[in-house]
């Protein structure tokens, strides 16, 4: 919506501080590591971040709505298990490589249905999304363990695990899918009525209701989108591993929320965008990758990320303290 002619990079960075951070860590690792500034490494970063990144796109919508989804890690695991398992079902035995298609479709459908279920419960019961998806997180994870019998599934069709190694031109397929989804969700959020209403529902729910926006179904659609993206993320992750383990995606909900909050989306709803979320995802990706290249143990990444998350919150509070009107409460 901003007029491209008066694009001001300084002001843009002020509005999207996470990209300033991305820039800094990018320059930092380029200087200190010989292996970082390398085209192949950039490909790696995109592929590595795609898993969390895809879910973060959906989480942005859900959080702008003023909701949250803690069940994404479990949905990811269930979808991955379906995708790997279904292709070896006897009924598809004669399908050749085509057996992958129904498996992937079913996995994605599972994600959409579980998202719809979360959304429907939030809509109809009025129970806070935090609680609804906390329950779903446990329940769906339980479903994964029961379905897999606590075993890992391995993809028998090598075409499936080869998929993740494919490239179109200079870009790996996984990176392309992630970038396309990013563009698509950005387009939905910034260009469509559904996307614009997302801000209204989270920013001023009463105004949205008074304006005739159907808040319940609207929220449900966003839960379906995040369910789909979590499932897609699970499918892609299982192609990378050639397998699905029952513990896949554990704690991902926490990583995803971290990325989204770093990107400037408010937990209270009404504020945030995909540009910020993409920055948050990249920040985490570059940090992990760069520290890995410098052979810093992965442990430090946790400490640094946790500290950054809290620091962002602190700075945000410092600079946006208007709500209390100077009253000492």
């Amino acid at each position: 919506m901003s007029n491209p002619t008066d694009f001001n990079p300084v002001r843009w960075l002020m509005r999207n501080p996470i990209w300033g951070f991305v820039l800094i860590v990018f320059i930092f690792f380029s200087l200190v590591s010989d292996h970082f500034f390398d085209y192949r490494n950039f490909q790696n970063i995109l592929v590595q971040t795609s898993t969390i990144g895809l879910i973060a796109l959906g989480m942005t919508l859900v959080m702008i709505n003023g909701n949250i989804d803690l069940s994404v890690g479990a949905i990811l695991a269930l979808a991955a298990a379906f995708a790997v398992d279904v292709q070896s079902w006897a009924m598809f035995a004669t399908w050749g490589n085509w057996q992958i298609l129904p498996a992937v479709c079913l996995a994605l459908l599972v994600g959409i249905v579980l998202g719809a279920l979360n959304g429907f419960i939030v809509w109809k019961t009025g129970v806070d999304a935090f609680i609804v998806t906390l329950g779903a997180m446990l329940g769906i994870r339980g479903l994964v363990f029961v379905y897999t019998g606590e075993q890992s599934f391995y993809a028998m069709n090598f075409a499936y695990s080869d998929f993740s190694a494919l490239s179109v031109g200079p870009l790996p397929v996984l990176a392309i899918i992630f970038l396309l989804c990013t563009l698509a969700v950005h387009w939905v959020l910034s260009r469509t009525a559904h996307g614009r209403n997302t801000y209204a529902v989270g920013g001023n729910r009463e105004a949205a209701v008074n304006a005739g926006i159907r808040v319940g179904p609207h929220m449900m659609v966003n839960f379906m989108i995040i369910g789909f993206l979590a499932a897609l993320s699970g499918v892609l992750l299982s192609t990378q591993m050639g397998a699905a383990t029952p513990n896949l995606g554990r704690d991902y909900e926490l990583w995803v929320i971290t990325a989204v909050v770093l990107g400037g989306t408010k937990l209270t709803g009404g504020k945030g965008d995909i540009i910020g979320t993409f920055g948050g995802v990249l920040a985490i990706g570059i940090l992990r990758n760069g520290m890995n290249l410098m052979q810093v143990p992965a442990f430090y990444v946790y400490v640094i990320l946790g500290s950054i998350l809290i620091a962002v919150l602190f700075l945000d509070k410092r600079f946006n303290r208007t709500a209390d009107g100077g009253l000492r409460l």
Partner: protein, 322 residues
């Protein structure tokens, strides 16, 4: 009319008790091994670690905040106490661990109570940061105690008094003490007030920051106690042993009817929530169901329990939003 109004939610608040009884009866009918003292004791012992942590989290939640860092904190405390056990002996290892855990609680309390940052995100950040600390401290290795049979440290997880396992005694005592604090002491009253209406509390001269700070210290203390039980039972620790505990603990607290909005909840109901989850787990296993079926049942139970609570408050079953 006021009677009716007061009566409605009162019944709903007992929903957890009703559900608990229904589950107990159902399990008793379906498995003849369920209803026995031995089985109950084993369930209580299993529940003690989550239970002790849930007591602390209940107080934090009544105060109007969340604590998602208790899982990592449990990893931290357990690894620390187990590791130090062989290095400086249990007499020193325990106080050092307790102190270190309280420091983490104090950081939470400072950021949330004093600086007034959002508790969900702060404790999410702490979850990650503390997990990193544990990994750095342990170098990514798991730790264990060399002389597992000779140490008196075994008493916390493996010991018994008067024929009752120590974890049960610890959990029971703490639950009782916390219940008394929350229901009969000034501090408890202040926590309910601050969680119920932070602004009105300040307007009534309640030191809001200090109260919230203290709730996080209590939560950390509970984690330290849970770590003693866990470390002593296992005599070792994986460096991510507490992973996922935060949400299971929260599930028990929510099941106990403590509102995430703050200001309402009870320690005894949390105990009920903890026991209910433990009995569901136990009953399903006795019935020959796979272990993780309990999580599926938990899913349904949590949502139905909270739904009924919410429905009773608004006076209609379904949400009015279109």
């Amino acid at each position: 009319m006021t009677r009716l109004k007061a009566g409605g939610p009162a019944i709903a608040k007992q929903g957890i008790l009703v559900a608990f009884i229904v589950f107990m009866i159902a399990f008793s009918l379906m498995s003849d091994r369920f209803l026995s003292l031995d089985n109950f004791m084993s369930v209580f012992r299993q529940a003690a670690i989550i239970g002790v942590m849930a007591l602390g989290v209940t107080i934090v939640v009544i105060g109007g905040n969340l604590d998602l860092s208790v899982g990592s904190m449990l990893s931290f405390a357990t690894v620390l106490v187990v590791d130090l056990h062989d290095k400086i002996g249990p007499e020193l290892a325990i106080p050092v661990m307790v102190l270190a855990t309280l420091c983490l609680g104090a950081i939470n309390g400072f950021l949330i109570g004093i600086l007034r940052l959002n508790s969900l995100i702060v404790t999410l950040g702490m979850l990650s940061a503390i997990q990193g600390l544990v990994l750095i401290y342990s170098g990514g290795q798991n730790v264990d105690i060399a002389d597992q049979s000779g140490t008196w440290f075994a008493i916390f997880g493996r010991g018994a008094m008067f024929g009752i396992a120590t974890p049960i005694i610890i959990f029971g005592t703490m639950a009782l003490v916390f219940h008394i604090i929350m229901t009969t002491m000034p501090f408890g009253r202040k926590v309910y007030a601050v969680g119920g209406n932070p602004t009105a509390s300040v307007f009534s001269g309640i030191p809001r920051s200090r109260v919230v700070f203290t709730t996080y210290l209590i939560s950390a203390l509970c984690v330290a106690v849970a770590a003693m039980i866990l470390g002593s039972r296992v005599m070792g620790s994986q460096n991510n042993v507490g992973q996922g505990y935060e949400l299971q603990v929260l599930a028990a607290v929510i099941l106990g009817g403590t509102s995430l909005l703050g200001g309402a909840g009870s320690i005894l109901k949390t105990v009920l929530g903890v026991l209910m989850l433990a009995f569901i787990q136990n009953g399903l296993i006795l019935m020959g169901q796979p272990y993780y079926t309990q999580w599926l049942v938990t899913w349904v139970v949590i949502i139905v329990a909270v739904w009924l609570d919410v429905a009773a408050k608004r006076g209609r079953l379904f949400s009015p939003i279109a």
